[in-house]
Point group: C3
Chain length 293, copies 3
């Protein structure tokens, strides 16, 4: 367990115990969320990029959610109104999608619905989308999800992103992401391990698992953002929903790698495992730690 050196409000052992006490309830919330996802099949309003759309839809269908890509400004308000959660992704925006995202985010805020922001490629090179990401923060996403480069840059660090893939590790950035609590309840940073900063828990949940082949399949992160929205729609808390989505992915990735070790086959196996996940898998394979912030 990686832990920051300064522990402000409690002695080391008290805090350690307190964090450990959160584990069992969180595990139960994750299982409950998974059951609810299968039962409720929440309708997720998704605006995502051209690279990701087919994959994101298939991942959500496999997981048990009901995805719908409605990305024009003329229908964004009414559809956000009936959706259970909203997922906005800035991968390959068009002018019409940009308008639709603003409308969907505002509608979500007005109606008190969970929405997830995925600021793909955020950084000084991609100014148009970065300005939009900044503007969308005013509508208070429940979750901001991205890789370490994106989250680091969004949190105000000077990071030179290389395209849309991260050049830094998720672990190195999570302590710097806390300013984003001003805008969102959870900040999820994907990487070899995922780190999910939770304002309500005042802690970081480190989720382990997955596969080193995951970055070889495009749009994995985009699908994870949309699945996070789906889980948050049916969870007790945004924290539990976000953690549940990341655990679903981590287990599916780990199990897929056990039977497929090249990129194309892994891609297929991953969807299979997203679909096949069951409660026993969740109990057996879930691997997370709760760390102090």
């Amino acid at each position: 367990m990686n832990r920051p050196e300064e522990l402000n409000t409690a002695t080391h052992s008290e805090l350690s115990q307190k964090l450990q006490d959160l584990s069992a309830p969180l595990m139960q919330q994750v299982i409950d969320a998974w059951i609810e996802l299968k039962t409720q099949q929440p309708l997720v309003h998704i605006i995502t990029n051209a690279v990701a759309s087919n994959y994101v839809a298939n991942v959500l269908l496999a997981a048990g959610a009901s995805p719908a890509m409605i990305d024009n400004p003329f229908e964004a308000e009414s559809f956000a109104g009936i959706a259970s959660a909203i997922s906005l992704n800035l991968g390959t925006p068009t002018s019409e999608q940009m308008q639709a995202m603003q409308i969907a985010a505002q509608t979500a805020q007005d109606l008190g619905k969970v929405w997830v922001l995925d600021p793909v490629g955020y950084g000084p090179i991609l100014k148009w989308r970065s300005d939009m990401a900044d503007a969308l923060l005013q509508y208070h996403p429940a979750v901001i999800r991205g890789n370490a480069s994106e989250i680091g840059a969004l949190a105000g660090n000077q990071i030179q992103s290389k395209g849309v893939d991260s050049t830094i590790s998720s672990e190195s950035i999570y302590l710097q992401a806390q300013p984003l609590f001003e805008h969102a309840e959870c900040i999820a940073i994907s990487g070899e391990s995922d780190f999910i900063l939770c304002r309500s828990l005042n802690a970081v949940v480190q989720v382990n698992g997955g596969s080193d082949l995951q970055p070889k399949v495009t749009a994995s992160g985009c699908a994870l953002g949309a699945l996070t929205a789906a889980y948050c729609a049916v969870s007790d808390s945004v924290a539990a929903g976000t953690v549940a989505a990341h655990i679903h992915f981590a287990i599916a990735g780990k199990k897929a790698h056990e039977r497929a070790n090249t990129a194309g086959s892994f891609n297929v196996a991953f969807i299979d495992e997203v679909y096949a996940l069951n409660e026993e898998d969740l109990r057996q394979y879930t691997d997370f730690s709760i760390l102090a912030l």
Copy 2:
């Protein structure tokens, strides 16, 4: 066989015999259509949604057709002019695609070409596309294809659609879809069984088969709409072409499920079976009934 209780123009046994007499010729037309598809490789002009485009192209290539996604308003007229059939799908429309669809539909009508309308998400929540679907009806599609929620709503029923997936069964809606004969020769309603209303036959063809995993693969319906256009381009009649496309899908789905029972693998197996279908499969696995309207 489900049969409406009132039989207006014939005694029960006369009508029953008449419908049965249609079966053998229709089966032969389906086989002929399949042979012609492989032989002619018809060029299909497709305007479809961002989620579906890759999948639709791969399904049509696997089946033997030649798909081309030309979805800008500047080339829609000239391309519709050389295509053998046109498939228009309202899944994730952009303003430019909307213009292109109108041009393509009008060109199809002017030139007497078969075109298929897939009114994805039709209903009161998604007004922009629904208005466009209404407007496109004036160009008289040969076939309108959708799920029960969409077709029911388009036929004038008050249905609350949940996103783009159907909330009602295809069987419960087909008797209410007849007003759409004003606009189109065939109305195809996808579901656990597919129901294809054929104006020329004054009957409904119920196609059985497929797999309950089909709804777990996004864009299956979109691909079926485009394949319907391809088949209609090479068939004796719109009815035969529409039925042939649905049978091709039903058999491929059934055979794919026999060897793959999770979402990712089923997706791959389905394309394999679309590709591998042969005349023997058609004779062995085709399962349809002709019902009175």
Copy 3:
């Protein structure tokens, strides 16, 4: 080996020897390029069509490159500025993508970066994109890549293209493509064998391999164009990079076909083999000839 009958500047045997002498160094350059691709993971700025985007990204990731689809006019200049190479594809252009392509091509030229043009569907039927392809030639792509119908039409021949698939063979067209040397260093024509005209070598490299299932997977050509850009970013010469990309595809296609002989499975196996290619494969399976122009 197919060789044109007239040999202008040398006797038959002298030229034959001269071309043969080019083989071993080219083979070594191909291997070097493959090693550099894995090592450098070049960032490729890609503007491509809706059908292809997911597949292109997955192929490039599998090969070892770092693809990023940035297709809006507001970010095209800055992103082209940090990319190692640029790939522009005219498959399903939107007005915004058209603007972005012009900006990216001009930026590439200004900064002396390699860019690849894939004039999908070029011909008299699809005038909007064809005019854009003509306009983009002024920015001097390093490579123009297409099928025989597209390259033939771009080179000024009167060819009736059938949609976006070729109606003529790559072999029949390569001798007519030389006028395109005015614009580009390499002209790559895909088909049963690929023919790569190289201005610097004053020769054509014929690459054999692949699979007859390749045309059954949509966007193969689009992915090859983007991979060509990736290879050119890390190669000694544009010729070596272009040949290396085509050899990578030819071997992966051949090996994929050995274990998958239907369209869906072949698609997955192809990505697997793009990922798994190693130096031994390159030495064992590479099959090219160098022909006089």
